[in-house]
């Protein structure tokens, strides 16, 4: 049954991708990309990657769609007719694809338990982590403990992406004169139902983000997902109640501080464990009992990741929305 679902979903994914190539209306392209992300999240669930599916659904169908739409608002929504011949790209793609298909024939068959990938480190994670880390969710223990360096690097990459976006677009500032903001608010004044429901939903979304954050040790979830979900709540607020209202709740300056704080929180766990006489990010030294130390370490660094991802996603959105607002006022 799972195989059948897999086949159907993958075929739908392929059709969606094919449609994206030939559409000229970029708005439809972005919407299809949202559907594409949601479909791939479903496939990830089917392939047992629940944490990944969670992230893909929140990020792909939520945040990237919003960012792409705001870019379209600035650049126009149709692609112009392409006069270049598409024969050469097609040839290149077919040749590369054929080579890759030929390559897949040497791959081990899908799903077999004795594939090389399952022989090396994974058995250790599965067998030893209950004794060494003691968390039910193996993905969290590998992410935060065994591969803590890796995750730290990735958090820094996310942070530097924020720095990149802000230096390209300029940090959004809170508007002092409210005349301009009033013009934009008027657009959504008529949507009473939307405003009431948004007020009802936003606290629930934030509550859910906190649940995902702190339940990530036991079930699917963790800092990355929680950060994105919390950012989505504030993005919803900014979309329904105007950007300037959202900036009154969480100011862009505060977000920049928060993003740095998240990364610093992660790094400080590493430094603290060094002061305690261990290696960088050696959680065993954080408490007398190594298992308790692991729990403390994972809780704190997941919190750091959550704060950093939340702040980065929201300030990237602020930067884009600020640009859109500027162009509509002019």
């Amino acid at each position: 049954m799972a195989v059948l679902i897999d086949l159907v979903l993958l075929s739908m994914l392929a059709i969606t991708a094919l449609r994206v190539i030939f559409l000229k209306d970029l708005f439809a392209v972005v919407m299809l990309f949202g559907i594409y992300s949601l479909l791939s999240a479903l496939i990830f669930v089917n392939l047992d990657a629940v944490d990944v599916a969670f992230t893909e659904a929140a990020v792909g169908a939520g945040i990237s769609t919003v960012l792409m739409l705001s870019t379209l608002a600035l650049t126009g929504r149709t692609e112009k007719e392409n006069k270049r011949s598409s024969v050469l790209p097609l040839l290149v793609v077919i040749a590369t694809g054929a080579a890759l298909i030929y390559g897949t024939l040497d791959m081990p068959p899908f799903g077999a338990a004795d594939n090389p990938i399952h022989q090396h480190v994974a058995p250790r994670y599965i067998e030893e982590s209950p004794k060494e880390v003691g968390l039910p969710n193996l993905v969290t223990s590998v992410l935060a403990s065994y591969r803590g360096f890796d995750t730290f690097g990735e958090t820094v990459v996310v942070f530097s992406a924020m720095v990149g976006v802000l230096s390209l677009l300029g940090a959004a500032r809170r508007r002092e004169n409210s005349d301009d903001a009033a013009v934009i608010v008027a657009g959504f004044k008529g949507h009473k139902v939307l405003r009431v429901v948004a007020k009802l939903i936003i606290p629930l979304i934030i509550l859910f983000a906190l649940y995902v954050q702190f339940h990530g040790d036991f079930g699917p979830g963790g800092g990355f997902q929680a950060g994105v979900i919390a950012a989505a709540a504030f993005i919803l607020y900014a979309l329904v109640f105007s950007l300037s209202h959202a900036m009154q709740v969480v100011s862009p300056k505060f977000l920049q501080l928060l993003a740095s704080l998240g990364v610093l929180l992660y790094a400080s766990v590493g430094i603290y464990s060094m002061l305690k006489g261990g290696h960088f990010l050696d959680y065993n030294k954080l408490a007398a009992d190594p298992l308790v130390g692991q729990h403390f370490g994972i809780l704190i660094i997941e919190l750091g990741v959550g704060i950093a991802v939340f702040a980065v996603m929201l300030s990237i959105f602020y930067a884009f929305a600020h640009q859109v607002e500027r162009s509509t006022i002019k």
């Binding site: 791939s40 290149v92 897949t104 976006v165 930067a319």
Partner: protein
Amino acid sequence: MSYVLDYYNYWVVVFLMMAGFYTVISANNLVKKIVGLNIFQTSVFMLYITMGKVSDGTAPILAEGVTQYSNPLPHVLILTAIVVGVATTAVGLSLIVRIKRAYGTVEENEFENKDDAI
């Protein structure tokens, strides 16, 4: 039939990869190029997760009475890659916004012509 089932996921991954690749090299509009790049990226995610799957395995969350788990390592790699992916996509999109400001267009051939004119 079982031969097809063994490799179907990989073939779809290659197809998606090529669809993304084609969009990147043939599209003229920069936003569409970014969408193509994202499709390429998701196909790589799919490749990793496919390799991590074990038949009859369950999600890697320890539970009583379960003996076979899927491989957690690819999940960890891809989970972080997705978030990093959206952050880098944002950088790409903001570059596009700047290009629009500077050239008044996001069609590749048009701003290349403007470059040549200078």
